[in-house]
Amino acid sequence: MVKMKKSVTRTNIVWQICTYAILLLVILAAVFPAIWMLSTSIKLPTEQYDIPPQIIPDTPTLGNYVNVLTNSKMFDAFVNSIIITVSVVVITLLISILAGYGLSRYKFRGHGVLKIALLFGQMIPSVVIIIPLYFLVAKTGLLDTHFSLILADLALTIPMGVIMLSSFFETVPKELEEAAKIDGCTGIGALFRVVLPIAKPGLISVAIYTYIHAWEEFLFALNLSTSTKTRTLPIAIHMFAGEFAVDWGSTMAASAIVAFPVLLIFLSCNRYFVKGMADGAVKG
């Protein structure tokens, strides 16, 4: 008996070491591109092509970052991305709060149809709607405006936002609002004063999800933005990489600047994010 126990613990230790080794390897593979991006971004052009390559260069430089940040096109793109992303997050939250609440509290005609339409909405390929959207925007003279980009992004963010929030609101007990209504609150008043404070984690996860999507949206911006006036960061990066085909240092510095805000928000709010995705995406 004692002998058996011993052999079990031994295989356990071997297995534990294997487990950590596999985890380490996969984590390395997952994180390495980010490390390599940062590493290249602080290298002088002469060091980028060194064989064997080094992770930390001999003479680290911030020159690539200066190069990117003083490029006026990149700066404009940064501003455009912020304007569009913030607007999309705010509008998505407002519309999804109302619709999510309506769906979770009331039964009206077309209730079921709307729910299914939203689910399907998540699954419509963006490339299928970009052609008509382009015509619509061009005909109404909205091509190359922030408004058209914001509108297009809503197609991606609203279905998910409504679905996530309506399932979240269903977990908030109705009795609380009823009490508030007896105390003289209107329906909307009860929603904003009673329900929303409780649903804060849900709101945060919708906001983060929307933020990440709007920040990296590529296809719509590629077609609906035709000049630097509305060009967003992903498009600017793509063009930047083309312009300086050989300057990988600056391209990587620009990439790091775009990736940084997303990673920062993700790291500070990952609790909400992970839970929200698990609730919204799969349970539907």
């Binding site: 534990q16 596999i22 985890l23 996969v26 984590i27 593979a29 997952a30 994180v31 591109p33 980010a34 390599w36 991006m37 064989i51 390559p53 407002l94 109302l98 619709a99 609440y101 309506g102 769906l103 009331y106 009206f108 005609r109 709307l114 939203l118 399907f120 909405g121 699954m123 419509i124 390929p125 963006s126 490339v127 299928v128 709607i129 052609i131 008509p132 509108l151 809503l154 197609a155 279905p159 409504v162 990296e216 590529f218 296809l219 077609n223 990066i237 793509h238 990489a241 990988w248 990587m252 990439s255 990736a259 997303v262 790291l267 990952n270 992970v274 995705m277 799969v282 349970k283 539907g284």
Partner: protein, 292 residues
């Protein structure tokens, strides 16, 4: 009338309905109708042409190739994403593993990195002359000479699939790991007392409680990958020799490079039908799950 709408709660969903109608329903219907019209930049107005666009489409070798490419791209990506995500979820779920939160955060980094950034970094890593991947693989003796990962027709698709796997496996890992936490501990203990081995426990206790999540995550991945555009556009633009030209890329090229909106709309309808088929299976399966 107004009061009736107010009482029914329909007013709450009105803004969402209007937005969805303008940015989704209208474009979708427009695309489906335009598939039956000749519509290029050189025509003043679209001309009705029946199903001739579809005929042309299915005689186009590049389009037929793009269907094959889409299937390879989608099933190749999802196979590796799911395989890696699933195995890593089981490994990470083991009770003795310490620092789970940190591990989860690190593994999620690829997923939150914007696709266009992922493309730029991988393009640099795949670089034929100075790329780190050629360096690592040749130092390990896996390859003899430097490979052109993105411009060799034989491997370009698999190079992009590798990037897509890198980006998406964390999502599957997270979903499966979350559902593993709902597996009943009592049942597991009972099975251990009954003398079940690791595989027996997995088959009879673990799998039944995570199966629904596995199915629905896989279908969601299939739909997302069918529609994915950024990686291919940014890394290969459908090349070399149309080898990575998936349907989304084909549609984009016909519409915004050739300005043949009619044929692009017809191709969109085919892609849409494909995604809807998968979506219906997805809805059917998630409904089943709710019923339980």
């Amino acid at each position: 009338m107004l009061r009736k709408i107010k009482r029914s709660g329909a007013g709450y969903v009105l803004p969402a309905v209007i937005t969805v109608a303008v940015v989704m329903i209208y474009p979708l219907l427009y695309t489906l109708v335009m598939g039956f019209f000749n519509n290029t930049l050189f025509l003043e107005a679209p001309v009705f042409c029946g199903i001739s666009q579809y005929k042309k489409l299915f005689e186009d070798k590049v389009f037929l190739g793009s269907i094959t490419n889409t299937l390879v791209w989608t099933f190749g990506s999802v196979f590796f994403q799911f395989g890696l995500g699933f195995i890593m979820a089981l490994i990470l779920h083991q009770p003795f593993v310490k620092g789970k939160t940190l591990i989860r955060i690190l593994l999620m980094i690829p997923w939150v990195t914007p696709s266009i950034i992922g493309s730029a970094v991988w393009k640099w890593m795949y670089n034929a002359d100075y790329g780190i991947i050629n360096f690592i693989f040749s130092s390990l003796g896996i390859i003899e000479k430097n490979q052109t990962w993105l411009s060799n027709p034989k491997i370009a698709m698999w190079s992009v699939i590798a990037v897509n796997t890198w980006k998406m496996f964390p999502f599957i890992l997270l979903m499966i790991e979350a559902s593993l936490q709902s597996v009943s501990k009592d049942l597991k203990e009972a099975a251990v007392i009954d003398g079940a081995n690791v595989f027996g426990i997995f088959k009879n206790v673990t799998w039944p409680s995570i199966a629904a999540t596995c199915y629905s995550t896989t279908l969601l991945m299939i739909i997302w990958t069918l529609n994915a555009f950024t990686f291919i556009y940014a890394m290969t633009e459908g090349g070399p020799a149309h080898k990575t030209e998936v349907m989304a890329m084909y549609i984009y090229k016909r519409a915004f490079m050739d300005y043949d909106f009619g044929i692009a709309s017809a191709a969109s309808a085919v892609l849409f039908a494909l995604s809807m088929f998968v979506s219906l299976v997805y809805l059917y399966l998630t409904r089943e799950k709710e019923g339980n």
